[in-house]
Symmetry: none
Subunit: 409 residues, 2 copies
């Protein structure tokens, strides 16, 4: 079933208002096994005529939001009737309901509100308990011009969402005539890039009948989305994990930091962080997770060398000899954080965020990540994320959190 | 000039990813005196062909985002060339740049990446310093099929935004042939809400001829955007600051944390942070600013009481008597951070982020912010931000940074 959504409103195209309807409809329709084939935003006015005329030629279902209010730029109702060649008449039940709405609030009804109870002949009024604008449902084949089922819905979310659930969902179920046939799965990975997936599993995934898949790359993370019937989904999952299980963060939407908190909590382990170049980002990500207080006890932001020496006991002469961004210092930072905090695991990072401070030997983007546990001597490894300052911090924090996760497996 | 925007990506229509590009383009184009006539979202695949074919018939300028990656569902480049009847050839300069991108990172380039440097004959490659996908600009009348100027841009904001500013803006100015007739000004405020502006200055701003204005409320911040000719802008600015100058963060887009770094640097003052409930967020925001190393020397994340005692010298008996979320403890944390770090100013926060841990006397959302300087005894004040965990942390960090800013004025 081909579904299109048209969002009307000049404010959406000026950027004053973020269009959240489209993503909301996407998620809601998906629950019914349906998806949006196209979404269009047009300003208030004549552009709506063009967009509706085009959509009803292509779509089985058209959902239009906005433009049902009482003001002169609210034209969706009038335009739809005109495009379909249907007369608009006052709906008596809607009129009484609207009068009641104003009576209850002790306010007089403005003449402008009267147009809100106009309805194309033969269409259904969709009651709006949360506002003055009822919705409208035009069934397919109401006239000769269109086979498309059309829903006109109000723009404000507090009016739109309940009306969708009460009035649109039952009609969509009847129109589509099927129960949800497919499911979705999101697998989050770190430590590999989008092109690794392309080379490693793309051809195999493409060969699974009825499976849709797509990658979404973030900094230090690639999310693989699988959509299909349960069997196809299971097959896609198996192929993917056969190649990349080591890099899997979660298959239930759990973020890397939440997975770290989950693993540490399950093992009753305490974590300490010692951060130079990430400047508190690792601790901040950990403490974004509810329950982090059971896991993170101490965090050190040792931006200055004096802080590395004073708080973590890093050797001043080693700092001098090897530089702050070195394997030695990363190890000593991790070991120091472990000792001072009494935690079970400590992770430390030291690197060059830029824009200045890089050298030929240690260019901007270089970082060392140290890891210390009670059972073993501290170790460190180098990463290289030549990105802008913000993205560098994020990428390094991702590498550090992944090191903690791996140490818990 | 008729401008259309097409956003490609199945994830946008499934609702996994919120489409923020459209609003961003709306605001950016507005600064050039331009606006979007229509925005369309289509899934990856053949629907892009239909959407592009339709748009270039109507539009003078078409901006397409997404689908320039290396994977099999990235088809924007190929589809555009096909629609226009243009051959795709490898751009040698782009190829060398891409090879350099991988060489610098010490990673081999996948064969899949090669398609990213294909360019329609006669079109311009738009360099992408922040990723592997260059953009493409197809000038109008490059072939017989279209008078529309077409920009193909990468989807990730960190790649898209700089490319837009560097490559798209100059071309749009040339295409539109007019200099921007009006200017924009953004004033950032903290410590007052949107309704304060409504009550305080809305009527006065509305009375200025030719001035457009709008508020954008964030957590702990309200941005006032003024757009108009220079004289109207100056008038709006004067009225606004006449009421609210005390709360002004910046008039040049500078964030609160950047303003704090700017002020501390100018006064050659060092800052230390001691964070409980914000978990490193304050230090993280400070270190997002280039040059933060001249300002922030030590940061403490003392999530556990033992950390407050052990690292900052908070009195265990005061912790017992007053609780961790108290004026006494906030003062002692700030004083301890100042002493241990040797900084000139220390800011400390202790609060209840939730979801659990609240009481009738100290509900979730309560926080104390302590401030210590070399010249005076530590002081603290209470804030109440009853929000979800993430937003609570952000709001408290905003209050704490504002306290530092005020102390520098």
């Amino acid at each position: 079933m081909n579904i299109e959504v048209i969002n009307t409103g000049t404010e959406l195209l000026l950027g004053n208002t973020l269009n959240t309807h489209s993503a909301w409809f996407g998620r809601e329709l998906f629950k019914l096994g349906l998806r949006i084939a196209r979404q269009t935003t047009v300003p208030d006015g004549e552009a709506i005529t063009v967009a509706i005329t085009e959509s009803i030629r292509r779509a089985d279902v058209l959902i239009v939001t906005g433009g049902l209010g009482p003001t002169s730029d609210d034209l969706t109702r009038e335009i739809t009737a005109e495009v379909l060649g249907l007369e608009l008449i006052t709906d008596e039940a809607a009129l009484r309901s609207l009068e009641g709405f104003f009576t209850m609030r002790g306010r007089p009804m403005a003449a402008a509100n009267l147009k809100q109870v106009l309805c194309p002949v033969g269409a259904d009024i969709l009651p709006n308990p949360n506002g003055t604008a009822p919705g409208i449902y035009v069934p397919p084949r109401l006239n000769g011009r269109s086979n498309c089922a059309i829903f006109l819905l109000p723009g404000p979310p507090r009016e739109l969402y309940p009306m969708y659930q009460a009035e649109v969902v039952p009609r969509l179920r009847a129109l589509s005539g099927v129960e949800t046939a497919y499911e979705a799965l999101e697998l989050k990975f770190t430590g590999i890039g989008e092109s690794d997936f392309h080379q490693g599993i793309d051809a195999e995934l493409a060969a699974i009948p009825g499976l849709e898949y797509g990658y979404c790359a973030h900094i230090g993370e690639v999310d693989l989305r699988l959509i299909g019937a349960p069997a196809a989904l299971a097959q896609g999952r198996a192929i993917t994990l056969g190649h990349f299980e080591k890099f899997l963060i979660s298959d239930d939407g759990c973020s890397l930091e939440a997975m770290v908190v989950r693993l540490l909590t399950a093992r009753n382990l305490k974590l300490a962080t010692a951060e130079s170049c990430t400047g508190g980002l690792i601790a901040n990500r950990i403490t974004d997770v509810p329950g982090a207080s059971a896991v993170l006890t101490h965090g050190f932001v040792t931006y200055a060398n004096a802080a590395k020496v004073g708080l973590l006991g890093v050797s001043a002469s080693d700092l001098e000899a090897h530089g702050a961004v070195s394997e030695t210092v990363a190890c000593q930072m991790a070991a120091g954080a472990l000792r001072v905090s009494g935690a079970d695991i400590a992770v430390a990072v030291t690197g060059i965020a830029g824009p200045s401070g890089g050298t030929a030997e240690k260019p901007v983007g270089t970082a060392w990540i140290g890891l210390a546990t009670k059972d073993a001597a501290a170790t460190a490894f180098k990463v290289y994320h030549p990105r802008n300052r913000h993205d560098f911090k994020l990428a390094v924090s991702q590498s550090a959190l992944e090191a903690v996760r791996q140490s818990c497996l």
